[in-house]
């Protein structure tokens, strides 16, 4: 029988190993202390990944096509009737919204503040998560050719999902509000108090920061984006206060928020684009 000695007979080189370990440590320190120095390298790597993202669009097209083929005419008729009813209900709701917008514009005029700019909504499909699932980044099937730009806000039917961080010709990457590096300026709808909601790396929970423990916050309070800082548009749902915990030693309360948007399983999303 042949001896399976396929592996190299090279000896150990502790000196070489040590050099590379030190090199890796230097890179770690650089990435921690000066992340901007390595930003271009990361951007280039993501661009190199673009063909794979592009390829990932086709299976979802294929499955969508097969699903359509299997759907019966009766099911399509039912869907059509349900969607017509939903459109009617939404149109009725929009009538009251028109009235509210008119009133709002009138008030903005009284306050001598500029009116909120209009926007378009572009439908996009979530292809999948990013290569690092703990990063709370998803890949969308719309890119620069569809007018997607870095910084645009993405929502679903329930609230804000996040912001576009990379754009490629036909795909883009969306950083969810649940990511540890993401924070949104919010208002508590009931009291109007300003605060910051930040991600915790968990799609099920966000945290409401910098709220004093004596502040008027209750479980069930709805949080909407305030638009402060100009990063995200105002008035979209962010989440609901789910848990409040205070310690004697801390001035701020530890407040947990359930996200409004479906951060875990959104299939289709809307990209807010300027008109």
């Amino acid at each position: 029988m042949q001896t399976p000695l396929l592996f190299s007979a090279r000896g150990l080189s502790l000196k070489k190993t040590l050099i590379f370990l030190v090199l890796a440590l230097i890179l770690m320190l650089l990435d921690t202390g000066r992340p901007s120095w390595l930003k271009n390298v990361r951007v280039s790597t993501h661009s190199a990944m673009q063909p794979i993202y592009q390829g990932a669009r086709y299976p979802s097209f294929f499955f969508g096509y097969v699903q359509d083929l299997w759907q019966s005419k009766e099911a399509l008729r039912r869907d059509n009737a349900r969607l017509r009813a939903e459109v009617l209900a939404n149109r009725a709701r929009l009538q009251t919204l028109d009235y509210a917008t008119a009133q709002n514009n009138q008030l903005l005029g009284v306050l001598s503040t500029s009116a909120v700019a209009g926007h378009d909504l572009r439908l996009a499909k979530v292809i999948g998560t990013d290569s690092n699932p703990t990063k709370q980044v998803v890949v969308l099937d719309k890119g620069a050719t569809d007018g997607v730009q870095i910084g645009q806000t993405v929502v679903d039917e329930r609230g804000i999902l996040g912001q576009i961080i990379n754009v490629y010709p036909n795909t883009s990457r969306l950083l969810l509000i649940s990511d540890e590096e993401q924070a949104v300026a919010v208002n508590i709808a009931r009291t109007g108090q300003r605060a910051i909601v930040s991600g915790r790396g968990d799609a099920d929970a966000l945290s409401l920061d910098y709220v004093f423990k004596v502040a008027d916050v209750q479980v069930g309070d709805v949080l909407v984006s305030s638009g402060l800082g100009g990063r995200m548009p105002a008035g979209y749902h962010i989440g609901t206060v789910s848990k409040i915990h205070s310690t004697q030693t801390d001035n701020f309360a530890n407040i947990m928020v359930s996200p409004a948007a479906n951060l875990k399983g959104a299939g289709y999303v809307l990209i807010i684009q300027p008109q």
């Binding site: 150990l12 770690m28 790597t45 998560t129 290569s131 690092n132 699932p133 998803v138 890949v139 875990k264």
Partner: protein, 149 residues
């Protein structure tokens, strides 16, 4: 030359498998294909050593968007450990060699978790069992098709 081309192809396939977008429910359990490729190349080829292990680790850091240097550091440790353990095997067998690979995958993830805890970044705990499972399946297929064993 043919082997180098195959290794390049293997790296490409592992990279595609590592970054192909998956639904969130599955993505957490995705095996770390680049690490599997690296340990396989460290064991079964003559070209891979600390230098190339460092480069593959660095590539994995960039592709998987982990802290730069984390996987590179663990890959170098893994290269060193693999070489040391292979040197101890007196009567090589496929089971022993794959056992070494499994131990080194454990070393890689343990050192990565320690680095991630120090850097206070999220730890990907589910990757180890699925990566070990994938490594075992590769070993099983290898044993089935390689007549030398």
């Amino acid at each position: 030359m043919k082997r180098i081309i195959w290794l390049g192809f293997g790296f490409l396939v592992a990279s595609v498998l590592a970054i192909y977008p998956l639904p969130a429910s599955i993505a957490l359990y995705r095996p770390w294909w680049l690490v599997i490729f690296l340990v396989w190349a460290l064991i079964f080829t003559r070209y891979f050593y600390v230098g190339l292990a460092f480069l593959v680790g660095l590539g994995a850091d960039l592709l998987l968007n982990t802290h730069l240097g984390h996987q590179a550091f663990c890959a170098v440790l893994m290269a060193l450990g693999t070489r040391a353990l292979l040197g101890m095997i007196k009567t090589p067998s496929l089971a022993k060699v794959y056992g070494v690979g499994a131990i080194m995958l454990g070393v890689f993830f343990t050192s990565l978790w320690i680095l991630q805890l120090i850097a206070q970044t999220s730890v990907q705990a589910w990757a180890l069992p699925t990566t070990l499972l994938a490594w075992g399946v590769i070993g099983f297929i290898h044993a089935k098709f390689d007549k030398a064993f």
